[in-house]
Symmetry: C2
Subunit: 245 residues, 2 copies
Amino acid sequence: MTETPETITAAVLAIGDEILSGRTRDTNTGYIATFLTNLGIDLKEARTVADDEEAIVEAVNALRSRYTYVFTTGGIGPTHDDITADAMARAFGVGIDHDPRAVAMLKERFPDTELTEGRMRMARIPDGADLIANKLSKAPGFRLGNVHVMAGVPSIMQAMMDEIAPTLRTGVVMLSESIRADAKEGDIAVPLRDVQKAFPEVAIGSYPFSDEKGFNTNVVVRSRDEARLAEAAEAVRVMLAELKR
Amino acid sequence: MTETPETITAAVLAIGDEILSGRTRDTNTGYIATFLTNLGIDLKEARTVADDEEAIVEAVNALRSRYTYVFTTGGIGPTHDDITADAMARAFGVGIDHDPRAVAMLKERFPDTELTEGRMRMARIPDGADLIANKLSKAPGFRLGNVHVMAGVPSIMQAMMDEIAPTLRTGVVMLSESIRADAKEGDIAVPLRDVQKAFPEVAIGSYPFSDEKGFNTNVVVRSRDEARLAEAAEAVRVMLAELKR
């Protein structure tokens, strides 16, 4: 028996009416999913809620108690519909006020005449939070407990993830191999299930797709153990070759 | 006082490890968001969970009790990792078995020799469910209570939404107008908040973006009342024009 390595889990919470109305396509969650996979952190759940304090509070409290890390996107700008910071303070039961460190960051970008009441809203940070630097437009995100609060603009969110990454505990990276079956999913289902039974500790997924030649399937084999991954992938390839004989 | 029209709400539940690993980008949720907005149905929440029965059961039970409709995508194919139908049966506390109507649909497509044990899995339907026709590849989705269970392949999901649409109660369509501010969000935040205060029943959202000219903002005004929408949008335009003088 080898020791089971620690599993590090995460959830993403996207905040914004514009995603739920369909006006804006959420590309942030997919970006974060790939980013975390590359760090060996398992993204277990993603949620999107509206710009609604009650909904944000309830979602973040559900997720932060369940997963190692939570990453939120959206709702930390200067306008009246940016309510994420206040919602986080309420979720954690802490106060919120203009943070001198955040004000100093904004002053790097804006002369006093441009530091409007709206922009000063972006310096409202819940008590006890660490700031997350924003190299693009200065207004910071923040970390409160295990929750990382980031901007919704993709370029800014991505820069913030780069700031956060070195602070995260990381796991053993999940390795994967994708095998194009050149067969319909229904034709490989039973033999694939048997391969899965033979390799219970390897995750074998089956993903149908269609192209100009019709329905086809990608089989994805995933494991943190390189040798077991290779064995299971080979078993899938042998199974597929036998089907075609 | 005009009568408040009925609000019809919805949630989307995307099911699949491949979305959470970042391997597959979820385009279904955005498609459904736009589809529902066009029907006057308010999408209030979206979740993504893994191919994990416990996680699916918990999510669907949380969502179905809260919203008028739930739409799920993914996990109804023929392979061992397709567990959505069984999870739905468990969530509703009903049995599940091969459904003669679903078997008949599969037989339209597959000769008996190709109706493998795997493909027959796609005819497993929870007791009491109505089927959702699949014009593309026959294997049906189903409706159980207020939950609509659809395929994850986008083309099939979209065909299923077309089947479902006529069965849904629809609301008054939310109208919207998008106004490009040609200003930074921080410069319009305070006057925009004042416009929002003047039109409390109209939703005014502010969405920063950046292009080659730098940071900019789209203001989106949303209402189900055409006249109020026009008044609020005009107030935003007047405010923006005054800022530029």
